[in-house]
């Protein structure tokens, strides 16, 4: 069972393929206040994620990121606890030949924990296909546990 994948610079990427939840933990040599800005400031978000970012970091505010290859991530901020925790919905805008998870169909939670001047950042992406966590979507909640079990058998 693939449970852990570790990168070369102290970052850790863990995906439990039984549940389909993507969870990754990274140690960053910067304070949580700095890391936080890379999630809430469009200029800084462009440095690592998309070609353009439209962010209104408040509950219900837009979180829209256009990828370099043209796909657009359309989300909405759900929860913001400055420098500690940030939650937004994650979906793809309909796009010819591109990825298309409808907005609101999955959810990303980011937590920042200070550690000796660094930040331990954990990202959890739930509500994905093969995820048992998509309970905000009745369709998924209804059939996913079985699909996950089936995927486990196939592995």
């Amino acid at each position: 069972m693939a449970r852990a994948r570790t990168g070369g610079q102290g970052e850790e990427a863990v995906t439990d393929r039984n549940t389909g939840v993507v969870e990754q933990t990274v140690r960053i040599g910067a304070r949580p206040e700095t890391v936080w800005r890379f999630w809430t400031d469009p200029e800084r978000m462009r440095e690592w994620w998309g070609a353009t970012a439209d962010l209104d970091p408040a509950p219900g505010g837009v979180c829209r990121v256009e990828m370099t290859h043209g796909a657009v991530m359309e989300g909405e901020f759900v929860e913001l606890v400055p420098y500690e925790r940030l939650v937004f919905t994650f979906g793809w805008e309909p796009h010819e030949g591109g990825p298309d998870v409808p907005p609101g169909s999955s959810r990303v939670e980011v937590t920042l924990v200070p550690d000796a001047g660094d930040t331990i950042m954990t990202l959890r992406h739930t509500g994905l296909p093969a995820s048992d966590a998509g309970r905000h979507d009745e369709g998924w909640a209804e059939h996913l546990p079985d699909l996950v079990a089936a995927a486990g058998r196939a592995g």
Partner: protein, 112 residues
């Protein structure tokens, strides 16, 4: 990979996945479950799911039998896993670069 994500975004296709998850079903039987849809419309959904690797089909006599292809779902998760891994490493580098001058000064100060 993107195809799998697009394929599961549709409620009819999710209903089809539920129908075929426990075993093979002929196309005709699947179509009967959607009386408000035309056969070609159902066939189109089956094609999207097949192209995305989420179901597979085999002929038997004059029937086409569909069943779930569970490994297709793991692919979908792996795609997003990779996207996050690549992106978060870039975030780490960018954030560390922002504090680098200040940390370099602090380190220098300690040495003295």
């Amino acid at each position: 990979m993107d195809e799998a994500l697009r394929a599961v975004a549709d409620p009819t296709r999710r209903a089809i996945l539920r129908l075929v998850r426990d075993g093979e079903r002929p196309a005709g039987e699947i179509a009967q479950q959607f009386p408000s849809m035309t056969r070609p419309a159902v066939s189109q959904h089956l094609r999207v799911l097949t192209d995305a690797g989420l179901i597979e089909v085999r002929p038997e006599g004059n029937k086409r039998l569909y069943r779930l292809r569970p490994e297709g779902f793991r692919d979908a998760t792996e795609f997003l896993e990779e996207m996050w891994t690549d992106s978060l490493v870039r975030l780490k580098i960018a954030a560390e670069r922002e504090e680098w001058p200040e940390r370099a000064r602090a380190a220098k100060g300690k040495k003295r």
